[in-house]
């Protein structure tokens, strides 16, 4: 390795680029799919976003959001869901900074106490709003540590103090560690009781309102059956009007890969996984072939050494192990460099790079908050290491094996 610095440098850089591209790919999906702060329940999370409603028999139906009364009166009674949370996001919400003319735009969520069971925010101070505060529509809320710093210049000792949101005073009940905009289902800087919105339980038509519903369930199939049963019962007792739960609690992974409304439009997860594995393979295979060529020419140069070692008692297996081991050291060096490149790229792009594969990338966020869970995920280390091993095997095993199959004397000469 040290004997041929140029070879080692080229190999390490080639590996680093391969690992960087594949790790970035893995990181993009890791952020979307893996249990990550504060969305630790992702594997058991289901969403209900859209309700189809209209006159019975009519081919044209409206598509709307579910209502809070649907949640309160029906969905909370589901046996197959351990958590049912309703939320709605704010729109153009501004916090007025005290003693200052300035105001800052904030991400707001109006929700219920279940939200804090669904998304396990770390509270640095205080607590989420209580069920009583929710029922009473108390003007209180939890704010993120970063927002606390912006408003109060500190993120401690501020529980009980008030802040102004859209020129309405709210009392701080707790300060939580801010998540990332890359996780839009949970991300918020201000979390208020849904009941502070006067129209929170308004229904324009039965079941139709303005919230999104999120469930935690161990059994998605049972959950779908129960939700469908609500629609069936309702439709059978209404002669003129019918509803349908279009996306029918969709699982988190389905939600990641499908932004559409109708189930028929959903891309099957299997084909998405296949496509992504294919991309991953290509990202890995092309550099592996290049590196394999590099190793192959290097093996020719080292053929004599291999022959000498064989003539003095080295077996094919021992030498193969030696070549793979030496190569693994180079590959892992490249892997570490690749990880550093990914981090630098992600950090310098303020996280924008992680939205690279989003098909509906209309995100106006230019700088994403990158939590430690995103950057230092053990899963990403494991992925990178496994990639190193695969790359090592792909690039070194074949040329080494071909070289070792020759008679000893052919190696020496």
């Amino acid at each position: 390795m040290l004997a041929n610095k140029l070879f080692s440098a080229i190999y390490i850089c080639g590996t680093a680029l391969a690992i960087a591209t594949t790790t970035l790919f893995a990181l993009i999906y890791y952020v979307k799919v893996a249990p990550i702060y504060p969305e630790f329940n992702r594997m058991k999370t289901y969403y209900l976003r859209y309700i189809e409603n209209g006159e019975k028999g009519s081919p044209r139906k409206n598509v709307s959001n579910p209502s809070y009364p649907l949640v309160r009166d029906h969905l909370r009674k589901l046996k197959s869901a351990s958590i049912v949370s309703a939320e709605t996001s704010g729109w153009d919400d501004y916090v007025q900074l005290p003693g200052d003319d300035r105001e800052i735009e904030v991400d707001l969520k109006l929700t219920d106490p279940e939200f804090f069971k669904l998304y396990e925010y770390d509270f640095l101070e205080g607590r989420p709003f209580t069920a009583e505060e929710f029922e009473g529509g108390v003007l209180t809320g939890a704010i993120s540590d970063r927002l606390a710093m912006d408003i109060f210049g500190t993120d401690t000792g501020i529980v009980g103090r008030t802040f102004s949101l859209n020129y309405q005073e709210y009392r701080v009940c707790g300060v939580f560690r801010e998540g990332s905009q890359l996780l839009p289902d949970s991300y918020a800087q201000v979390i208020l009781p849904l009941t502070t919105d006067e129209e929170y339980d308004e229904e324009w038509r039965p079941f139709v309102g303005g919230v999104s519903v999120t469930f935690v369930s161990d059994d998605g199939k049972a959950l779908k059956e129960e939700v469908d049963e609500i629609a069936r019962k309702f439709n059978s007792s209404n002669p003129d009007y019918e509803v349908g739960f279009l996306d029918l609690p969709r699982s988190h992974i389905v939600n990641v890969f499908n932004s559409g409304i109708y189930q028929e439009e959903f891309v099957p997860i299997r084909s998405v996984v296949k496509k992504n594995l294919l991309i991953l393979l290509v990202l890995l295979l092309i550099p592996a072939l290049n590196l394999s060529g590099l190793i192959s020419s290097r093996m020719d140069m080292r053929s004599s050494e291999i022959g000498i070692r064989r003539s003095f008692g080295g077996t094919r297996f021992q030498l193969l192990k030696q070549v793979l081991w030496e190569n693994l050291v180079l590959t892992i060096s490249g892997g570490v460099l690749g990880l550093v490149i990914v981090w630098l790229c992600v950090l310098s792009s303020s996280g924008q790079l992680l939205t690279l594969l989003d098909s509906n990338n209309s995100n106006e966020v230019v700088s994403f908050n990158l939590t430690p869970e995103i950057l230092y995920a053990p899963a990403i280390f494991i992925v990178a290491f496994l990639l190193c091993v695969v790359l090592n095997i792909l690039s070194a095993l074949v040329p080494a094996w071909f070289s070792l199959r020759k008679p000893v004397i052919s190696n020496i000469e």
Binding site: R310, T315, V408
Partner: protein, 222 residues
């Protein structure tokens, strides 16, 4: 006298898509323990091929090889490797030291593949002392003269205490003074009881050995 090497009807054919070359044919040879045997013949007559077959570095196309009474044709790679490691030492014309290893690490190579070899560094140092190069342990092959490099190669060949040493034109790349030093070393090893088979073009060196055999066009000639 104990026969340590017995070749019976050994042949070697090199085949390409269009040409078949008979490198060796009908070779029968016995070498006794402690014998110093020279193989001579014109270039391309099959001397090195024969030495490589005896050293299990190449497989014969036909015939039998017995070393220490053990039939070796058809052994698996692992068994061959072990046999080479324990019984055979090689000295090549171009030394074939590993350029990225220093002298002592080069000498230790055979011990790397031997279980229970003991203190490898100590054994390597002793082998280097024997060839008069104990002061050059940290040098790299590129820092050695031809004679020194060949002496390191001899140290590597004897470090594992093999019974048989196979030398393929060991002085072919050396001047006369260095050739003399190397030959003295080989004769010294032979006096200690090693069986030595040497391929050479040098008649004077061959005359100093116990027996000389001649090869011509892949056949043994008397």
């Amino acid at each position: 006298m104990e026969t340590v090497i017995k070749l019976t009807d050994i042949s070697k054919v090199y085949t390409t898509k269009t040409i078949e070359t008979q490198a060796l044919e009908g070779i029968n040879l016995e070498v006794n323990k402690g014998e110093f045997l020279s193989i001579m013949g014109p270039s391309g007559c099959g001397k090195s091929t024969l030495l490589n077959i005896i050293g299990l570095l190449d497989r014969p196309s036909g015939g039998e090889i017995k070393l220490f009474g053990k039939q070796l044709v058809g052994l698996r790679d692992k068994e061959m490797a072990r046999f080479r490691n324990e019984n055979l030492g090689f000295v090549f014309q171009s030394f074939h030291l590993i350029p990225t290893l220093n002298v002592i690490d080069n000498v230790m190579v055979p011990l790397t593949y031997r279980k229970g070899a003991g203190d490898r560094r100590k054994l390597a140092r002793e082998a280097l002392e024997k060839v008069g190069l104990s002061h050059r342990t940290t040098h790299f092959p590129s820092q050695l003269s031809g004679g020194q490099a060949q002496r390191v190669a001899i140290a590597r060949a004897i470090v594992g205490n093999p019974s048989i040493i196979l030398a393929d034109e060991p002085t072919g790349n050396l001047d006369s003074k260095m050739s003399e030093e190397v030959m003295q070393l080989l004769h010294g090893l032979n006096r200690e009881g090693k069986t030595i088979i040497m391929v050479t073009h040098n008649e004077a060196q061959a005359r100093d050995t116990d027996r000389v055999i001649h090869l011509f066009d892949g056949h043994l000639v008397l």
